[in-house]
Symmetry: C2
Subunit: 144 residues, 2 copies
DNA sequence: CGTTTTGTCTGCTCGCAGCGGAATTCCGCG
DNA sequence: CGCGGAATTCCGCTGCGAGCAGACAAAACG
């Protein structure tokens, strides 16, 4: 496969996962964590989209991919939807099941993040892809 | 700061975190999870090294950086050493405290992973850096 | 040398990872 | 169109790890 880093069409706004109530109490002296940039998605959201895109590129079902990764299809579904935060071992297993290296997977995540918020001086992502990606995570931020 | 993706000198072999005994039972019909490539490090290890490198580049202590991130210094130490798997919110907070975007952080992780296992066709990392990185994660793989 | 600062170790709690059964949605077929 | 099977999502559960704070060790400083 190896076609990583492709920009990913996105789905719905996510249920949130752990956001520890105790974390972030001291961040900037106002009881707030250091603010993450507006509209910047969370790692697990982008990772999940990347994994689903890779699986669908292979034309596979949750059951097929999860079987090779040694995890339950229900859990893979939740990871792909950004609902659960997988461990590094799980990430490695899923990458292996999809025949991509961790490098390729991580680069794919970075490319998707860049599409949402292009860094100065980097090659511009296509307009429609940027708009699509920005719309998805932008909506998330606004909903939050 | 923004100087991400620099190759990172590494430390000791890690205590491991959760590796669910139930995960991976069905991976390849032999009760094994799909094998991750030999000597490929785990995401949390490389992330931790990246965070520590960034903090040290700023000339900061655990207490300073963790204070801005809104987390405990003991916890930041464990994350940097690859002992704990932080949530996406924690990762975002730490990135913010270090003045890097998630893109930059992720690219830095990808670069470090590539140094361990250069992909075909990419620019070769320096020999000593590659040897250093490979030695660190290679030892881990052998110990495992 | 003593003191301070920095980083690591350790035990704790509480909330979630990862699971599996059930429910819902999707899809191909007649 | 309805139907059956496949695929995906929902939901509740439990074991265990995230994240913490006190204690300890190591390093730095005067």
């Amino acid at each position: 496969m190896g076609e990583t880093g492709a920009l990913i069409p996105f789905g719905t706004v996510r249920a949130s996962v752990r956001t520890s109530a105790r974390a972030g109490q001291a961040a900037n002296g106002r009881g707030e964590r250091a603010a993450r940039p507006a509209a910047e998605p969370l790692w697990r959201e982008v990772l999940g989209d990347q994994l689903r895109a890779l699986r669908r590129e292979r034309g596979e079902t949750l059951i097929e991919t999860s079987g090779r990764a040694g995890i339950s299809p229900q859990y893979l579904s939740e990871v792909e939807r950004g609902i659960k935060e997988p461990s590094s071992e799980m990430i490695a297993a899923m990458a292996g099941a999809l025949d991509v290296s961790l490098v390729e997977l991580t680069l794919g995540v970075a490319e998707t993040l860049r599409a949402v918020r292009p860094a100065a001086g980097t090659a511009r992502a296509s307009v429609s892809a940027s708009a699509s990606a920005a719309g998805r995570y932008g909506a998330f931020a606004l909903a939050a």
